[in-house]
């Protein structure tokens, strides 16, 4: 008599969860390009342009990017070229949808499809996950590749035949190339493979599969080493393994931040861990995955580093999501078929938990997404002044300014506080502050943009030089609102005649102490 809801299969359930993740991400998170997005996509555009026969990029991106520039920036740059920033962000969203699907697949394989639905739902609605899915940076692709490697590890660990373990190596190397931080997750993926192999097939099989995977990894690393620009090793050390922290923060504050952003999922995952500790079969897996969730946050706490912590929390939550799914299924009473009856209403508990997580996640993702200033007004102002291929522009916020104005300017037109140079009439090459002072004196820059935000001291030097020379008109004061507070972007234009500029005093700026 009962027309079972066969139409809504497990796959259908996953589709619904992915639909929520996609619609909520696209519908609620809106902002102009983040500094990192602007940098990577702009770099990618230059690389794509070069590959298509254009001039070589002026910057040596492999030297300092935290991922290899010919992996994500190439993809992002190409997508930006054909569809703009939104298309590049859509790629990240697709990657994160893939991660959610992998959460579901891993949970379904290790537990059941009910736990899989809960795991995917609670992962998809987490704030940092929604955030990473709307950020056109290395992270979404890297996380997807790590998740794929973990998924292959789970499959290889529980499959009858060992050969799928070979795929782990290349995928992990790709993940490392996408972002060097993926190195941190190589051991956990191997640990998952070993522990599941031991559980399902015994020690001998586990050793065999681990050797296969290790060999494939070594081979892939060798191929990568032969293929890439070795300047990437400098970037690997500088950005990841031997990174020097700029904004030092206390460990306790970082720990609290981790709890803020991922605490609920970690707490539910902890319940899942405790539940699984009762049995022998999944005990090791639970310990490994729960521990892996803390790897990236622990490294941040060790380095006192807050930068990118939010994104790296999402990496860890991927590993804890299956445990959380199992815990929610237990909470909803679905681990026992005899009470898995909708009319009893136990499942409402799980829905309520997910909705509460969703409400919090929505708020958190929106907060994270409004952390950087919206530069649409700055972009508008630049578009009223820029001439494609003519004139020089100096910008303190060069990443976003250059990216926003990519349709009306060339790479060579832009300068910033990063390694400024100026060649005088006597062919003397100046660098640093002297270069800036001389360039302003000679009205080298047609346009100057300062925000006194990232390089306040240098910005004051430059502003004072403009006052001294009276070579510039202050033409725009635009609002700048970010997580630090409220400030302004200032735009100057070269005066009609030398010494006749209208910018004559710092009091014309709305600067606060």
């Amino acid at each position: 008599m009962r027309a079972r809801a066969g139409a809504i299969s497990a796959r259908g359930s996953l589709t619904l969860v992915l639909a929520v993740q996609a619609v909520v991400s696209v519908g609620t998170l809106r902002n102009t390009a983040f500094q990192d997005e602007a940098l990577y996509l702009y770099a990618g555009r230059q690389i794509v342009r070069h590959l298509l026969g254009g001039p070589a990029p002026l910057d040596h991106y492999a030297f300092y990017f935290s991922g290899y520039p010919f992996v994500y920036p190439l993809i992002g740059g190409y997508l930006d070229r054909i569809g703009g920033l939104e298309l590049a962000r859509a790629f990240s969203l697709v990657c994160m949808l893939g991660v959610t699907a992998l959460v579901s697949a891993i949970t379904a394989r290790l537990f059941d499809r009910r736990a899989a639905v809960f795991a995917s739902a609670c992962y998809a609605v987490t704030g940092v996950v929604l955030f990473v899915g709307r950020l056109a940076t290395f992270d979404a692709l890297c996380l997807f590749l790590i998740a794929l490697a973990a998924g292959i590890g789970v499959y290889a660990g529980t499959a009858r035949r060992p050969w799928s373990a070979v795929a782990i190596g290349p995928v992990l190397v790709l993940a490392i190339l996408a972002k060097y931080a993926a190195l941190l997750f190589v051991p956990p993926v191997f640990a998952i493979l070993v522990c599941l192999s031991v559980t399902s097939a015994g020690w001998r099989a586990a050793i065999g599969r681990t050797c296969l995977a290790s060999f494939a990894l070594a081979l892939s690393l060798w191929v990568a080493d032969r293929s890439i620009d070795h300047a990437a090793f400098h970037a690997l050390a500088g950005s990841t393994t031997d990174r020097s922290t700029t904004f030092v923060q206390s460990r306790i504050s970082l720990f609290l931040h981790v709890l803020q952003m991922g605490g609920i999922l970690l707490a539910i995952g902890l319940v899942g861990l405790l539940l699984l500790m009762r049995g022998k079969r999944m005990r090791m897996f639970a310990v490994i995955t729960f521990g892996t969730a803390w790897l990236a946050p622990a490294y941040h706490m060790y380095k006192h580093e807050p930068i990118s912590l939010d994104k790296h929390i999402a990496y860890g939550l991927f590993f804890v999501a299956p445990l959380a799914g199992y815990a929610l299924a237990w909470l909803a009473g679905l681990e026992r078929p005899d009470i898995a009856n909708a009319q009893r209403g136990y499942w409402l508990a799980a829905v309520a938990v997910v909705l509460a997580m969703f409400t919090l996640g929505l708020h958190q993702s929106q907060t994270l997404y409004s952390n950087w200033a919206n530069t649409s007004k700055l972009s508008y102002a630049l578009h009223t002044q820029l001439r494609d291929g003519t004139g020089r522009i100096f910008a303190e916020d060069i990443e976003v300014a250059r990216f926003d104005a990519r349709d009306v300017s060339e790479e060579w037109q832009w300068s910033s506080f990063y390694y400024p140079t100026y060649v005088t009439a006597s062919r003397e090459t100046l660098t640093g502050t002297p270069a800036l002072i001389q360039a302003v004196t000679n009205r080298y820059y047609d346009l100057v943009e300062l925000s006194f935000n990232y390089f306040p001291d240098d910005a004051y030097t430059l502003a004072n030089q403009m006052i001294r020379t009276r070579n510039y008109d202050l033409i725009a004061v635009l609002p700048l609102v970010n997580s630090y507070g409220r400030s302004h972007y200032y735009v100057w234009r070269s005066a009609l005649a030398p010494g006749r500029g209208t910018f004559t005093s710092l009091t014309q700026l709305k600067l606060t102490a």
Binding site: R2, A3, R4, A5, I8, A10, G12, S13, L16, V20, V23, V24, R113, R114, A121, V125, F247, Q249, S250, I252, S253, L254, L256, H257, P306, L309, G333, L334, R336, D338, I339, A340, N341, A342, Q343, G345, Y346, W347, L348, A349, A350, V351, A352, L355, A356, F358, T359, L360, L362, H363, T367, N371, Y380, H383, T384, R387, D407, I475, S483, L496
Partner: protein, 1024 residues
Amino acid sequence: MALAPPRDGRHQHVASRRKPLVALSRVRLLLWSLRPLWVLLAVTTVVLLPSSVVSLLRISSRDVSLPWRYAGLSPFAFVTASVVACAFASTVLVPRLRRSPEAAPASAPVEFPVPAPDGSSMPPARRPRGAPQPRVAGFALVVAVAWIAYAHPGAPLTLAVLAVGLAMLATTDVDRHQATTMVLALGVGFATVDYVSWRVSVTNWHGWWIAIPILVAEAFGAAHALGFQFTIWPRSTPPLEATLDPTQYPIFVFVPTLNEGVGILRKTLNGCVAARSAYLRRHPHANVSIVVCNDGRAANAPCWRDVDKLVNEFALYGVKGVTRRFGGGAKAGNIEHARQKMHATGDALVVIFDADQIPDRQFLLKTVAPFADASIGWVQTGQYYSNLDNPVARWADDQQSMFYNLLCPGKAALNAAFICGTNVVIRAAALDEIGGLPQDSVTEDFAASIALHPRWRSVFLRDVLAKGLGPLDIPSYLKQQSRWALGTLEVFRRDWRAIILPKKNGLRPGQRVQYLLACTHYLCGLRDLVYMVSPALFIFTGIPAVRRASLSEYLWHFIPYAAMVIVAMWYSARRVTGWRGMVAGFGSFPALVGSLAAVTMRRKASFVVTSKERNGRPSLRYLVVYLLFVVLCVTALGWTTRMNGAERTSLFISVFWIVYSLAMLGAFLGLAYADLHTHAAARVAEPRQSRRERAGRLRPVRVGLGALIVSTVLASVALTHSPTAPAGVARPFVIASDYTATRRFGVSLPIQLLRSEPPQLERSLGIRFSIVGRTQDVIDKFDTGWARQLAAQGARPWITLEFGEFGAGHTAPLSASLPAIYNGLHDRDIRRWATEIRDFGGPVYMTVLKHADKNWSISSGVAHGGIPADVPRAWLHVRSIFRDAGAKNVAWVWAPADPNQDQAFAPPASSIDAVLQSFINYPGARWGNPKTVLDNVSRRYPGKPLFVEVSAAGPAAEKSAWLYRLGSTVATTPQLYALLYHEGGPALLPTPSQQHRWSLASDSQSLMSMRRIVANLDTARGIR
């Protein structure tokens, strides 16, 4: 006979389960004994947790360097965490500890034996180890609701509820219909919480006298929407435990009558006899008595003797009659009187039919069977109308259908289906317990149910087992509604403690909710009144109901809420009822408000039988109220045009509710019209038709609502889309082919002179202008009406397009710069201009970047950051957009200040259709020689048609002389295409005296000179 279920078995079992508690630690025992405290703490958590988490959340990631903030919050967070832990312990852990380890081995589910009515142990309900308590679900839901109420996330929440709910239901054992109902109910629930909490947060408390009534009305509507979903939530009805043989009970069928008449009563008695026969055929040993309770004598009804005769006539079939001599207690008193007379007490079953309710043959067979369960107190069936050819009865039937086919089954699942006064079988012993049917209420049935439900179970059968007569006209319908409202509200006033306050062995929570919903249902009349009056008050007074809310924010919260309520209602009510049930309910608001007033003022109510036949001419007085409110709503809508746009959100909310009220009023007036029409036709009642056929007769409402929707849509379309010519490519305007020996003459004017000045000048000059020019901003619209008017007069428009206005201190906005134009910042507006001009279709002269070679131009190539090379680039960019849009009916007039020296600024000659030479002769300045200038321009732009625009102010003699020289020059300049005089002078905002001084008609001499010029321009034919 023991009717109440024995409880001993359960007590024994609880005692046995307590044994293991001894083995538990004292701490655990203490936790368990302090359970009320944990519940209190849990409630506190619900309040504190969201604020704590959101407070933590709102500290941005950058602020984590400020540990003092965390220090300040940590005690609070600690307390919150402790409370959560305690609540968790009370709701999850401690109840689990109560289970016996012996009774619950690790692998086996714990079993809770349930006592059977005969005292033996029944098969236990399965409650496995590890399964969380229902309280966990409730607790989690309450936390989620509180959280959402705090954060009100808006539309995404609804999406998440639908998707996550459906995804999770897919993992459980539930059929598609139930899954859909549950998911929609969840959607309604969370969307309602989101909307109402947001709505409270933006309420304008300063205008409380408008804001609070509409807020309360909305909250009331939301609460009943939630209550509806709670009622229809799929639940399994508790199974009956058949332990007795109900056919042994004597059955008394009571048919109370007052003044219905023998014609109606005869059919009812026939039905009762048939039902009894069918029952006796199946159960020959049964004892069924049919009793007519005649109250006509006590009430001095004219037909009471006829009723007695009818009873005698039916005596052959065993029908008995009891005629009261003295009244009291209304219908309940009548039944109770007969019940005592006939000794229908103890183990008897009492069946009640109103005089117009004709039972089906199956009635007794179906309704007596459930009494095999000793706990069943009554069996209620639906009340359906047979006279559905009558529109009022049909609408009332739709309203009834919602109640009987949707709500009653849901109430029955919660053991809250109350007695509805007719078509019901009641166990006499239950009535005996409460002293019979209450005689101090006009809704004795409802009052009796509240008293009986704590001890007795009720059953509702959805089958159509009796049919009666619905109200025949709107006044009867309103009286019926008024009586029900009066009775129900009176019961609530009297028995609210039993419904709301906790009481040992009182009503269960689900029953309380259902009785509360039923009692407050009739307040919807007041709600509808508020929906009509409050928006109108806002419109008339300007005091808004909400503050600090944008329209988009309102829609962000309201649309999901409204959509979910409508969709959920539609889904559950499909094939059961329709919108006319809601309209009928809305239309009863005057009666309901009157009843509320009567109950509030404690006026004594009398029992009025719903009329079963029409008498005399229909009264139309009841329509006055509805018409008054229609007038109020229409007036308020008209008044909105006088409001400013400062309170857009409040205005939108108000207009929404007024339109809603108008639609409902219109539909109800449609019913009134149908009622009057039917009354005139006085058709004979037809047999009950199928629901499908009935649904097809919804014409008055459909027509009314359809007309409203269509008119709204048409009005919107008319407002948003002015008639335009078909899109495509305009007919090309090639100025060279238009360039003949005949020269054109016209004016260019500022906007303030555009309508008034040309006719005067035309009269003064005795000609018709063939070109009229104006300057517009790119953000303006192309004035198609003006252009068409010119075309009708044989003239053509000349538009000079600017890209902004000078600000304070004569500063040019950045957006007016030349790079801004060619970098595409104005493309949208330019494209719109192109489209509008293309759609106009007629020839248009267009100038952009006028005087861009000088620093006074807002889009200058020598000032405001512009360089000469920018000018042709911007010019070509604008032209390309027009070309791409297919606006080929534009001739481009290049207008530098000095065409002779514009080489650095000029666009390619191929992109120029004509060149403008301006003469602006200031008083006191040396006025140039027009011949020299025009000769030079002709040499600079050989073959290009020339526009000459003139403006002069100065002594009359000097001005007229210069004009005369100009006339001589233009007459001999072969390239001259048009001569225009610029009225108003060069000032941006000329004063009246400036306008006069710079006017063509500033003096008679100048005017005379211009007449002569015009004559020389070979314009004798006037219009060209």
